[in-house]
Every structure is written in C-alpha cells, then in structure tokens.
C-alpha cells in the first residue's frame, strides 16, 4: 500500500505539484439484517484504492482510482495535477496550509473480538432470536435487526515526510419493533434508532448490548404507544435521554462549529452556520454547566470519531468547544486554521473512503458529564416530559431552528415517572435551548453514542461521528409543535 502512495506523490511532484498527500485505503465490511424471522441483507464487501490530493499552481486538485497499477496510479496523479491547474482558473490567492510536523507511525484501535472471525451464523442467530422475542409480543407487525462490521486499513503519505498506517475496527447493531394499528404506525428501537449503537470496538460491543434481552421490552412499548396519551402542545420542561441528547449535540453544536461551513464552503448544499467567527470566545452558547469538547483521542473512548491522525496527517486532539457555557472553539483543518487566528489545525479532516476528498468532519463532539444522579434528577422535577430515542430530526441551514421528535415519552409529575406519552416532539433556537439546560447527569449515566450516517460534502460522504452524552434537563421548551393542527 505504501509503495503506491509514494509513487503517487513522486509522480505528482514531477508533474508540478507543490504539495501532495496520498491515501491508500483497504476497506472490508459485513452487513447482516433480518426481518420477521428471515435473513434480509447478507453481504460482505471489500474495496481498495488510492486518493491523491495535490496543490499545483496554488490551487487544489484531487483524483482517485482503484486501478492500482503503475499505469493507473501515475495517470491518477497526473489527473489530480491537471485538475488543480484547472482550479487555478478561478482562484483569488494561493492555498496556504498551516505548518504540521511529519509523522511516521502505526496505530490500531484496541478490540477484544474480531467480528470478522465470529461465524456469520452466530451473528444471524442473535438477530433471529431478538426477532423472535419481538414478534412474540401481540401487536408487533414488523421486527427488524441489523449488524454492521467495518475494518479500515489505510496508509497516508505526504510530501512533508509523513507515513502513517492506521487500522480501525468498527462494530454496530440494533433492533426495531414496529406496530401498525388503526391509523398509527408506532415503533421502538434498541439501543438507538437508525441502526442502533456503533463504536470503534470489536464483537464485544454486540455481546454487551444484549439485543435478545431487550427485544420483548421494545416490542411491548411499541404496542403500548397506541394507547398512550398524545403529547400536547405547550411550553414546559423536558428531560432528554442520552441518545437523543447525543443527536441534539450533533445537529446544534457539531455541525455549526465546522469551520468550512462557517466560511461559506458548504453554502450550496449542507449550508452555513450562525456561528460567524466574530462569536468565538464571545457568544454565551449555553448555560454555565454546559461544557462540550471535540475529542478524537482514544482516551475519550472508542467513538466513531476516534483516531490517531486525521486524513491530513494531523494528530488527534481535544478542542474545548463550549467552556462553562462560553463558545470557545471550531473544528478546523490546515487550510482554515488561520481564519480563526490559530497556527495549527485541530485535526478534523476525514474521508469516507479512498475515492473521497477529506473534509472537515466532527470527531467525538461530546458534552461533559454533570453532577446529577438520574434518579435524583427525576425526583427533583415537578412537571416535565422525558423524551427518548430519536424518531425525526430537522434543522435549518444555519443550524438555528430545530425540531426533534422521539419514539417515546413519559410524563414526570411530582418527581415521579408516570404515564407513557406518544408522538413527543420539541423545537427551539439553538442558543436559547442550550442556555436553558439546568441539569446534566453524571459520568455513570454517560454513553459515547455513535452516529454512523452523517452526510456532508459534494459528492456526498457518509461519516461516523461520536457523541458522549448523559440525560439532561431543559426548561421553557416548546413541546408538541410537530403534531399541532
């Protein structure tokens, strides 16, 4: 792999590139799904190729190929240089990169059980057993389960002298029970919706989730939702479960702090951000108990945003994003760091695969744990709705106004968890929402959730991100607007 990358940067240099990095990636994936007692998807895939990024004539070019031959790699490098020269037709100044040291390193995330060595039939059996438990519940009309395993083996070489070899192993799984009755479709997912939980771990993650042990419960909840009380429209207090708070962080903190978005580079598709650079270290983003970091280091946990080096050869870092409520940091790269007065990238360039250009992406954007015990938080709450497990999410193209709905809710009255509530939803303005946070649960309730499906960029790239979160309470929130007539 390294030889192809070295050949690519040598060829690009000879063709006039002033900077080149090349990434050879070998990706292996296994996808399994089941539905109503039968195997649905059963696919193993592999893909190997090279992506070559160059600066020539002061502008960027990128080309990729899966033809790893002398002819293929040389032509791809030459094409990247030609594209850069075409880019220079519409440039105003030369691209400048913040300095970075060269690194020669090898890294692999720790895991206990290689999921590709676990027999497929054992993995299918877990899903089919969970499926059986869900369908044992009368009223469940659809039972689904899925597992995904991914191994990314990549070598990065750049003209500043870096040679970085990283191997990442990811695992993920989840189950869903759906119930159709009357004029309603209700569903419950475990451990999270839209694919379950995903992390930079081995098969031990799947074993720890205990899908089978939770299947009957979510089946029963899906059916019970039909007779639950409708979430009413009002302004009040909400408590968000950890996975829902993780997605709230993703949408209303993680995306607005992407510096490429702030600087207008995503204006046509993903949108821009309300967090213009004048707000850095001035905006009161949240209440004083809100502390958020973007942390790609393994010490933060085995999240989907954990690595040793980003795809620009910059080491993993921890950046304070919100410090005691104050907005303190963006996600940057070597090209944009200078726009916020920094002399170094904070290491967030990531690519989906060898055929995609690295772009600024979330790493693990997490809220630090608070001090509350979960039971104490419930006891301390007089009147609220506890909302859990995302059902839909939407936010405007500057990440100001959002609306979320969750699969399930419970009434909190006089410090006790009471009746189940169906179709819960809430909406608000990002900074008003985070400033209304008055309680966050402690480390023992904190989970590093994985979001495997974050889309950004043109052409579109899907990336996994991590979000550590614990249940938290918010006051004066608009509730129930999604179903208002």
């Amino acid at each position: 792999m390294q030889d192809w990358a070295v050949r690519a940067i040598d060829t690009a240099k000879r063709r006039g590139a002033s900077y080149t990095d090349a990434r050879v990636m070998d990706i292996r994936q296994r996808d399994i799904s089941t539905k109503n007692g039968e195997v649905g998807t059963l696919v193993e895939s592999e893909t190997l190729g090279i992506g070559i990024r160059v600066i020539a004539s002061g502008a960027w070019g990128f080309a990729s190929t899966d033809r790893l031959t002398q002819e293929g790699v040389d032509a791809c490098a030459a094409e990247a240089v030609a594209i850069a020269k075409a880019s220079a037709l519409a440039k105003q100044s030369d691209v400048a990169l913040a300095p970075e040291k060269p690194y020669v390193d090898t890294w692999q995330n720790p895991f206990v059980k290689d999921p590709f060595r676990i027999p497929v039939e054992r993995q299918i059996e877990v899903l089919l057993n969970a499926d059986k438990e869900m369908r044992r519940v009368k009223g469940v009309t659809l039972a689904e389960g899925s597992m995904t395993f991914r191994k990314i083996d990549q070598v990065f070489v750049s003209t500043i002298g870096s040679v970085i070899h990283q191997i990442k192993m990811q695992s993920g799984a989840g189950i869903v029970a759906t119930s159709f009755a009357g004029s309603e479709i209700q569903k419950r997912s475990y451990p999270n919706s839209f694919g379950g939980q995903h992390a930079l771990e081995g098969y031990e993650l799947i074993e720890a989730l205990d899908l089978v042990g939770n299947a009957a419960r979510i089946g029963e909840e899906a059916v019970m939702l039909h007779s639950a009380m409708q979430c009413l429209e009002k302004t009040g207090t909400i408590i968000l479960g950890g996975s829902q708070l993780g997605l709230q962080i993703h949408e209303s903190i993680g995306h607005p702090i992407e510096l490429d978005r702030v600087l207008g580079q995503e204006a046509n598709f993903a949108g821009m951000s309300f967090l213009t650079v004048d707000k850095l270290r001035k905006l009161k983003y949240g209440s004083e108990i809100v502390n958020v970091v973007a942390d790609a280091r393994l010490t933060h946990g085995p999240g989907l945003g954990t690595f040793a080096y980003d795809d620009e050869g910059v080491p993993a870092q921890c950046t304070p994003i919100i410090t005691n409520g104050l907005f303190t940091g963006y996600l940057s790269n070597r090209e944009t760091a200078s726009a916020i007065g920094e002399d170094r990238s904070n290491g967030t360039m990531r690519t989906e695969s060898w055929n995609r250009l690295p772009i600024i992406r979330m790493t693990n954007v997490s809220i630090n744990p608070g001090t509350w015990n979960y039971e104490d938080l419930i006891s301390d709450t007089d009147d609220a709705i506890l909302m859990d497990t995302n059902r839909s999410w939407s936010i405007d193209d500057r990440r100001y106004h959002f609306q979320f709905s969750t699969e399930i809710g419970w009434e909190i009255k006089g410090g006790k968890k009471g009746r189940m509530i169906k179709n819960p939803s809430y909406s608000g303005i990002t900074t008003e929402f985070w400033n209304s946070c008055d309680a966050i649960c402690s480390r023992e309730h904190w989970t590093l959730w994985g979001t495997p499906n974050c889309g950004k960029g043109q052409p579109m790239q899907t990336m996994g991100t991590g979000h550590g979160a614990a249940p938290a309470r918010f006051r004066n929130i608009k509730i129930g607007v999604a179903f208002a007539k």
């Binding site: 060829t11 089941t34 039968e38 195997v39 998807t41 059963l42 696919v43 193993e44 592999e46 893909t47 190729g49 502008a59 960027w60 990128f62 080309a63 190929t65 899966d66 033809r67 031959t69 002819e71 040389d74 032509a75 791809c76 030459a78 094409e79 990247a80 594209i83 075409a86 880019s87 037709l89 027999p119 497929v120 299918i124 089919l128 659809l142 159709f180 207008g264 580079q265 204006a267 046509n268 309300f274 055929n355 995609r356 250009l357 059902r391 839909s392 939407s394 936010i395 405007d396 193209d397 500057r398 106004h401 609306q403 179709n423 909406s427 303005i429 052409p459 608009k478 607007v481 999604a482």
Partner: protein
Amino acid sequence: MKRATKKSISRRIRQAEAGAPALPLLTASELKSIAERILKLSNADETEVEIDVTTDALTRFANNIIHQNVAEQVLHISVRAVMDSRTARATTNKTDEESLRRVAAAAERLALHQPKNPGLLPMLGAQKIPKMDRFFADTAEAVPQERARAVTRVCKLAEKNKQTAAGIFSSGAMQTVLANSKGLFAHHEQTRSEFSVTILEPNSSGWAKANSPNIRDLDPDRLAERASGKAADSRQPRELPPGHYTTILEPSAVLDMVGFLFYDFAGTAVLDKRSCFNDRMGKKVFGENITLWDDVYHPFQLGAPYDGEGVPRQKVLLVDRGVPKNLVYSRATAKKMKAKPTGHGFGLPNEYGEAPTNLVFAGGDKSLDEMIRSTQRGILVTRLWYIREVDPYEKILTGMTRDATFLVEKGKVAGGIRNLRFNQSILKMLSNVEMLGPAVRAAGEESFEMVVPAMKIKDFHFSEMTKF
C-alpha cells in the same frame, strides 16, 4: 490484464494532463468478459454477477473561487451465490484472478451460513430488455477546464452584482452489466451532468439547479442569473407569523416533498404494514388532479430499463385521479401478493423488496406567473431543506424553506420573508392542490430526481419561523 508499458503509461499521463478521465471506462464487452470469468469460477448452484464502472468529476466553488475539484473512477463487482435455497452477496473492486475467485467463494460461503429460505425463487433466464440511449459522449468526455470556465463566468456574474456564488458543476459516465448462470445478460450505460448554484447576499440568498444526461442541456449562466435574481428580490426579508397559507411550491420543492412517498408504493412496504397506503389502496387519498406513474422510459427520466434481478421495468400507474391504484413488485413480493413482477426489485438479498424510482406526475398547464397572479395572500417557496418524516402513516413531514422564500400579495411577489418551518401531511397537501404547472425534470437535495410540476396548495401549514 494487459501489461502496461512505459509508452502506454506516458500516453495515459498525457491524456490525464489534458484533463480527460485518467483511464477510459471499461467497455461493455470487457465487463461481460469479467462476468464470464466469475461465472466460470463459481461453484454455486446459481450465480449472478453485477459489475458497475463509473467515472465522476465534480468542480466545487464557494466565495467566488473553486475550492474543491475532484475526480474518481470506481469499479464495483458484486457476486450473488445461491446454495441449497440460500443466497448471499459479496463484492470487490479487484479484477485479478485470485480476487475474482475469492469474491465468488465468499458469496458461496456466506450463503451456506444461514437458514434455508423456502421462498427463494430460481434466477431468471435471458430476458428481452429494451435498449435505452442515455449516453452522451460530450458529457463522458467533459474536462475540468470546461467546468472551470463555466464556474469562472458564474463567479464573475456574482462579483459584478456584489454577490457571492457557491455551487457545483459535475459530470460523469457509468456502465453496468448484470449476468447470471441461467443465461441472463443485461447492459446499460448512461452519462450524467449537474449544475447547482447558490448566490448569497448579506441577508438573502437564491438557488437554482438542473441536471441532465447531456451536459449540453445545462445552462450554468442562466441558472446563475436566476439564483442571482432571487437573492436580490428576497433582500431584507420580513417576518411572517406562522400559520396556514396558500403556498406555491416550485418544482424542486414539490420534488423534495413527494420524494418521501416513493417507498410507500412498494408491495413489501404494504406487506410489512409500514406504508401510508395500508388500508387505503383503491380509496380517494389525494385530489382529483393528482395522477402519478412510475416510468423509466419517460424522456425526462434516467436509469436502467431492468431491475436488480434483470426483470424489464414496466410503466406502472400508481395514482389515478387521486386514487392509489397499483403498487410495484419484485418477483418474490409479487408471488406473496399474487401479483405480477413490475421490474422494480432491488438486488437480492435485501429486506426492502422494491420501489418505484422514476416517478412522473401528470402535471397541468398553469404557469408560475398564473399561480402568483391568482393568489391574494400566500407564500412562494423556491426550495425546501432537511425534510424528515414526523408521522409515517399520516405522512406528516417537517422541514425548512431555504434560499429565497417570498410573500405573495394581491397577485404579486411582495418581497422576501424569513425562513419558515413546516409540519405538513403530504396526503393533505396533495388533496389541496389548486393549480398545477407542466411536469418538468426537477432536481432537489432530499430526493432523487423525478418529473414533477409546480403546485399551488391551499392551507399549507407553517409552524414556526427561524432567525434569517
């Protein structure tokens, strides 16, 4: 594979330096030859091979400069094996003999590690598949300099108007073959091109987008002028209280809403009881003026004329004057539902069955101007954003307006308004359509392209407003 010589390498480099795709697409006969090699290597009871090869290039601009400019070549070889009433798939992008042997063996091994599926149908034999001509050499051979020149003109227009431009100009080509051990062989090739532009002012923006298999059909200058005009016309947006408004949706906005309906027309979705048409087939669900087909052969459509198993696609009437009439079916779903396959199945194995992906609305004859002139007070929407499903059965969708939303008063556009959030049932929306424009090939961001009209809708529900 033919061994590369120094001479052939330098020829390829010269071509790449001229901006042409680094290596040409493999031809149909080359893909067929790879497929035949795999079929010979396979020991499965039945074997199916799908091979796609694509070249794509995309020039991306923002702040009136090109900031990303990329090209890719991707080969995708996918092998499905059937072993004793069980099936599984393995994929690779490597074409050496050992990799082809390995991918065939992987599919066989995976297939054996699961329970038998008594409902698994035998693979199809040879099919009579219509030929579609959707490949344009000018598009396949487009070079980055050509895209850069168009982008430069667009950026200059923005600068002249004291505005900022962002967008993409892309082009590409693909070949695909589907073959199996029962004698099926299907081939399709097509090209694609797309131009999308957002023009920004300090407190407003405008947007326009188009795509076509033929790059010569695109007019980046005209699209940029339209986006520029919208940004200028929506300056200093005023606040409008949320509520129910007569709303005119341009085709892109209609597309992104109705795109959320496509899977509800799958036979499997109805079998699984997750379609909004459960218990509603044959009943009046939409207005009399809504008629909808799935039609891959429509001149504004794209796509292969066969499905994931090689069944030729049929034109299917999905909604007839407001009444959902027909679903689409893969072979397995058709058998379960006592229907005939319509050629809309996904490649096996999968849990979703099938879907119509070439939706075509009947449309009407009203122009956008006529819709505006006939509106006493309403809202004109250019584009919608971040649409998500809130209720799967009543089909309530939420999302935001974006990039030029206008107040219409007394038959005229009366200026820009701040962006609004909507929570709207699409079933109710398509029951409240007062006027329809001609159906056009529309491009959005939330749905695949389809042929839809602009619509004037009464009582469209905007629930909240954002800050810009």
